[in-house]
Subunit: 342 residues, 3 copies
């Protein structure tokens, strides 16, 4: 898009060459063809060295710029607006079932549902009004998907999975795989056996939940693995069987929740953190990045970190131990010298 | 299902309203429509506050319940039985190749094999008797799958992968991807090069192995990456090239084993643990959650934890260091006062 | 393959039975049917106990072997050559679009492009000359794939993703999923809201990049998430929105880079390491296995380890703290005895 066209869409004033622009980027990351922005005169040096082809500046900015300038009242907001203009158009997923999709005749499809190419929907499933099921998805027997939920390509829902309304399920998510459960032991003759415990339950996802790419949520051993409403799950997260996430929580990338654990309302589990099985995390607790929580947290501590998880203060004390030891060592040495000295 | 019908299936006696029931759940998690259970009178309070529509109780239980009661001899066992009744029916995967599946004419299909919709099986592959290959699976050239093995939707097996009998491979598993191997260096002119090392081997999975959703196992650089019999692998586990897992081991979710490492018989690698490359873990050793093992473990220690991995005792000593330091500090201060005091 | 045939392909001399061989393996891992190798006479015991059916030995080797010997000048090199001979043939992906693939009529396909079965390529996408897009792939609207790039089965590229030339994208990779971004807060009435922040940018992958199985790279909030040339990414790695990896770096399995972070040239992020959001890692820095980097690294330290990340020396000091404390305790006790003794 020409800078002149963009400038008029943003209600700005073009100063300099009418360059071609195709994306937004920060001043440092920008490259030719990019539009950048700067509000604060203190970032003058960044503007001077940017490789952007154009930069959004406010009228107060009187410094020079090495490229085309689009003068606007609020550079931040204008950049957000430009980003919307540059964004790839959201693909239209119109109502209807793609001719290659295999939807069992017993499936109940709501009004305006989209089913993409090569998608398989097995018998007894129900898809709510306005749901979008993209290409190459697998929806097993008896699954129920709520209205307006969007399932991206290559997601699998094993039989009996329930997903609420207004959910977003990203590519490669696996719902309803068997939980990890085995009985081990030795037979009378001394030989070892490992026996699969049947995983008889389901996964149930509440309304307004978003689940990131390649995340896995296992079906319950008995009953349900439950993800409460408005929970937002990032990529590559693992949620074990019979976990209950009450709702309004966030689970950041690569975190894991072991079986039968309960996560309260409004919790935040940071990236790569792990929570052990059969425990409870109280409402509103945050588990820091890479933390490992071996036992229940009753909410006395609002934030834990470290493995095993502890307070920030306790972790800092461990980190500072070598310094404290060095200091003590010096003092002990001084005492010894003093005693020797006599 | 009506409580009366369930009660008679369980050989119990119905007391109270003939409510509709559809799932099992613990007393605390239960909600209307659920069946719960309690054996121990000590959990009286949980029974009183449950939201279950019915609860399984033993004849000894004389307390009141806020809902329908199904009286049975053994509530735990009856609940397991009810769970089996409520469980989503296991989808039937009858013998035959779905008309949309693309099975190369050179593929050898055993007796009673099921091949699902949109599955691709390339030339020279062999599928054993009674194997179930579900929808949207990719099986590359020359793969061999043992009898009675079950492969869930959207699994990929790159060329030459071998899977034993009675295995279960969950959705999104990736077998036989290239191992991570590059030669780096500088050319004579000072420029950097990064060169791919050909990954010429395969993945071989023994009998009775289960592999969880979205787990990845790389093909060997040379020879084979080997997962021995009865090994049970959870979701999102990473196994590098040329790893050898002898057998009868468990690898819990999000753990990772780096290239060329050997895991002995009967090991347990807990969630999010990492084992370095080119080392050996002796038979029966357990690597705790989030532990990081930098060097071989000869079995002297049966359980390690921490990163780098150490004994529980050693990790506890580090955790306790701040307390010990505080104590010592007090003692040193006391000594100093005493010395000053003279 | 017969040992005699292999021997002549390798230019070696066969000594012993003309056994059947099908794979290479180390002396310890080898089993009947395998070819192994040994150069160094010090590994005599391993040769004597190997289960390989044949072993490559140099003329200098005068010891006995328990199996067929193929005498060659350089056993290591001969083994590599044998591995190439035993390797599963690389599947041929000939130019052409599989009849089941759905390629929108607006898509620009270069010369000699291969498109596999059940693959979907949406409108406006461009595929460069000689690219291989295997079976069951999803390529969204307006994606651009460079020449000679190879995309394995069951990869998804959301709309607008750009991939360079000579890239390798392994099974199950997810490019362009929405970044994790939400506004949280309380409304005037005290109720909580969680609002999705539109993710308007794209993912852009430079030339010569390799991405391992089931890795996820999120689209930018605004602008682009950028993976620079020759970067090599392993399996199950998570890369957040607006991350910039300058190039020539390695990201090992299960590592994660949080949003808006910049990774310099020639960095190495080891397995299961995590790098926080909105920071910079200087060129050439290595982040050790399971390390957690909370703040920018300016390159003063070339290697960090631990969570939070620190120098090897600092981590060692923490690990040694209990020993140092025990020593100090002894000294303090001795001082006290001495003082008491008077």
């Amino acid at each position: 898009m020409k800078a002149s066209e963009l400038s008029s869409l943003l209600g700005g004033i073009l100063e300099g060459a009418d360059v071609e622009l195709s994306a937004c980027a920060g001043l440092e990351e920008a490259r030719p063809g990019d539009l950048s922005f700067c509000k604060d005169v203190r970032h003058r040096a960044l503007v001077e060295s940017t490789k952007a082809s154009a930069v959004l500046l406010s009228p107060e900015w009187t410094e020079k710029a090495p490229c085309t300038v689009i003068r606007v009242d609020d550079p931040n907001r204008a950049c957000m607006e430009a980003a919307r203009i540059f964004a790839p158009a959201e693909p239209k997923r119109e109502a209807g079932v793609h001719p290659t999709a295999l939807v069992d005749e017993s499936v109940k499809l709501g009004e305006g549902v989209h089913v993409g190419a090569f998608t398989v929907i097995e018998k007894g499933a129900e898809i709510g009004d306005g749901a979008v099921i993209e290409a190459q998805v697998f929806i097993g027997e008896g699954c129920r998907i709520g209205g307006s939920t969007h399932i991206y390509p290559q997601v699998t829902l094993r039989e009996g999975t329930v997903v609420g309304r207004d959910c977003i399920i990203h590519c490669g998510v696996r719902l309803g795989g068997d939980g990890y459960g085995f009985n081990n032991g030795r037979r009378e003759d001394g030989s070892v056996f490992i026996e699969k415990i049947p995983q008889l339950g389901v996964v149930e996802i509440g309304d307004g939940v978003e689940i990131g790419s390649n995340t896995t949520i296992d079906r319950a051993r008995i009953g349900r693995t439950y993800i409460g409403p408005m929970t937002k799950i990032d990529n590559l997260v693992q949620i074990g069987h019979n976990v209950k996430v009450k709702g309004y929580s966030g689970l950041i990338a690569q975190s894991g929740i072991a079986g039968s654990t309960e996560i309260g309302y409004g919790c935040l589990i940071w990236a790569q953190a792990g929570v052990s099985g059969h425990i409870k995390i109280a409402d509103g607790v945050q588990v820091g990045p890479q933390a490992g929580v071996p036992q229940s947290l009753d909410g006395t501590q609002k934030y834990v970190i470290g493995s095993p998880a502890m307070s920030m203060k306790d972790l800092a004390a461990i980190t500072l131990a070598p310094k404290m030891i060095a200091k003590l060592k010096g003092e002990v040495k001084a005492i010894k010298s003093r005693l020797e000295g006599r």
